[in-house]
């Protein structure tokens, strides 16, 4: 038996490489205008300079065109799937949607780029098989490395991504790392240690509270689902406080924490909350256990 070739319907995820300003506009302006002309609603998520370029070339007052700051919305790319999902839900009665999303730009720290690359692959999993819409992802080919551009080619072509939770996170840098093992009686100590390190690093009250809550939610997951215990390590690195929580459990859903949990489902909220509150969340899980790393900048980026 042979199977028929797959029809290209549903979610289309396209990488678009540009070498300069003119190429950027030559690719993105027609994409946006074609969507508006077709009666679609268009959501554009770009970093500030690119947003400015595009806004001057299209009708910024079109009610069908929405812009968002990718520095903000995509600061933690773990939030973006639910952003696109909500956009999709909001347009269910309309004439279709399309999106433009540039998450990987030159100069982003490598940990963020790694998460953006995982996000790009997860998009296929999250939206493949669902309603038809197109997301175009611009890449600055003049400034990004060949490795990143190769990965982008691959991530936009694959239909069934796997190994999305695999890999290891770099060891903490040499220097002061604080830590503790925790079990079910120790959540209060976990919160105290995180709050104390956040205070020393100079996070304000809001960022401290958010990080304490996120760390507690993740540590609770370790106790609930990760074998009843876990280990917390916490350190300061490049203007950020990093909380690393590991346990012996295994996560199998690569989309964990990326979709808003249904109101009637009691579980799956901890990592979603962490993604909403932290500047970056990195999740790795395999045979040896699960590692969740939370980053919070000392100052809001």
């Amino acid at each position: 038996m042979t199977s028929a070739p797959r029809q290209e319907v549903g979610f289309r995820h396209e990488a678009f490489f540009y070498a300069d300003r003119d190429q950027f506009l030559a690719g993105t302006v027609p994409f946006v205008e074609a969507g508006i002309e077709a009666g679609e609603t268009v959501l554009v998520g770009l970093p500030a300079t690119k947003r400015g370029l595009l806004q001057r070339e299209v009708d910024p007052d079109s009610p069908r065109l929405h812009f968002l700051s990718m520095e903000e919305a995509g600061r933690n790319p773990g939030r973006l799937i639910s952003t696109w999902r909500e956009f999709l839900h909001g347009q269910e009665d309309g004439g279709g949607i399309r999106g433009l999303g540039e998450t990987i730009w030159p100069g982003r720290p490598s940990a963020e780029i790694d998460e953006c690359q995982r996000h790009e692959r997860l998009l296929n999993l999250a939206f493949g098989g669902g309603p038809a819409w197109t997301l175009m992802c611009p890449y600055d080919a003049s400034a990004l490395s060949d490795d990143i551009l190769d990965a982008a080619q691959h991530s936009h072509a694959e239909t069934i991504p796997n190994g999305l939770l695999e890999g290891s996170l770099p060891s903490p840098p040499n220097g002061a790392t604080f830590g503790m093992d925790f079990g079910k009686s120790d959540l209060r100590d976990v919160r105290q240690l995180v709050a104390e390190r956040a205070g020393t690093a100079g996070l304000d009250i809001r960022r401290t509270e958010d990080l304490v809550l996120a760390a507690c939610e993740v540590a609770t997951n370790s106790i609930q689902h990760g074998g009843g215990e876990g280990a917390l390590r916490i350190w300061y690195e490049d203007g950020k406080l990093v909380c690393d929580i590991s346990d012996a459990g295994r996560i199998t859903d690569p989309l964990v924490g990326r979709e808003r949990p249904p109101i009637d489902r009691p579980s799956g909220r901890g990592l979603w909350i962490a993604n909403q509150l932290c500047d970056l969340v990195q999740i790795r899980s395999g045979e040896t256990g699960t590692q969740v790393r939370l980053q919070m900048g000392v100052i809001e980026p």
Binding site: S185, L187, R188, D210, V212, E217, G270
Partner: protein
């Protein structure tokens, strides 16, 4: 705000205080009760001691107060055996107890005192499992009267005689207790016409929190919950809180005051309404 949280002595609880003192040895309770009652004498309150032991023994226990005989004779000190005030072994009738204590507080005022301060070692009242739920509720009700009447109380429970779960519940419905973490992470108590929540609620305390919230914050009349002193709540706790306020919205309502900003953010994230 009333004295609340974790305490390590019977002193400085104020004239509207209500504390839970969990002890292993009888003398530990007596020592703290002496501190508590001494403050009462200083504040010109009538002081009272309630315990399972005969009154003659109570006189000896309280000897450090000074001239116990003289204090009793002039009405500054009253001693009661548990059976004088309660039907030991039966679930407490809160209405009867409220009437008894308010009459005693009124009498103290009529006799020229500033109020009534009671140290009560009431372990035997909750020895029977069937008395326990009503008793925790009674403590919560009594707490409200400590804020509206010239009445304060220092309640002793012996650890070895009672299950940890019950001790946790009892401590949680007093504003102050000597059991810190991890036994009693939060307190639910009356303050300025509100129910105040202090301390921390996480995954492990959320079930107790939900249960005691229902008990301390009943529907029927309008209830207000003040979160000023809430130090931490995770999404498990917040879900319990939201479920409770939603349930009460049909029965008089439950207004939530002064949520910490992180609570507002978490509500937004989870689309929860308080």
């Amino acid at each position: 705000m009333r004295a609340h949280g974790c305490i390590d002595s019977g002193s400085h609880l104020g004239t509207d205080g209500h504390a839970c003192w969990i002890f292993d040895q009888q003398q530990e309770f007596v020592d703290a009760a002496l501190e508590y009652l001494t403050d009462g004498l200083r504040a010109e309150q009538r002081i009272a001691y309630v315990g399972s032991e005969p009154v003659e023994e109570q006189r000896e226990l309280l000897a450090p107060l000074g001239d116990v005989g003289g204090l009793i004779d002039n009405g500054a000190l009253q001693l009661f055996e548990l059976t004088d005030l309660y039907e030991v072994g039966e679930p407490v009738d809160a209405d009867v107890q409220v009437a008894t204590y308010l009459a005693a507080a009124d009498a103290a005022i009529a006799d020229g005192y500033t109020g009534l301060r009671v140290a009560a070692q009431v372990t035997d009242l909750v020895a029977e499992p069937r008395t326990r739920e009503a008793h925790v509720r009674w403590e919560s009700i009594a707490d409200r009267y400590c804020t509206t009447h010239p009445l304060s109380a220092f309640c002793g429970y012996q650890r070895g005689a009672l299950p940890e779960q019950l001790l946790g519940d009892l401590a949680a419905v007093h504003p102050a207790s000597n059991e810190g973490h991890p036994g009693v992470p939060f307190h639910l108590f009356s303050d300025s016409g509100n129910v105040a929540l202090s301390g921390e609620v996480d995954f492990f305390s959320a079930p107790d929190f939900g249960r005691l919230l229902e008990l301390a914050c009943e529907g029927g009349a309008e209830v207000s919950l003040d979160l000023t002193e809430l130090d931490f709540i995770d999404h498990h706790g917040l879900a319990r809180l939201a479920a409770h306020t939603q349930r009460l919205s049909a029965a008089g309502g439950c207004a939530v005051h002064n949520p910490p900003p992180v609570v507002d953010r978490l509500c937004d994230l989870l689309e929860l309404k308080l």
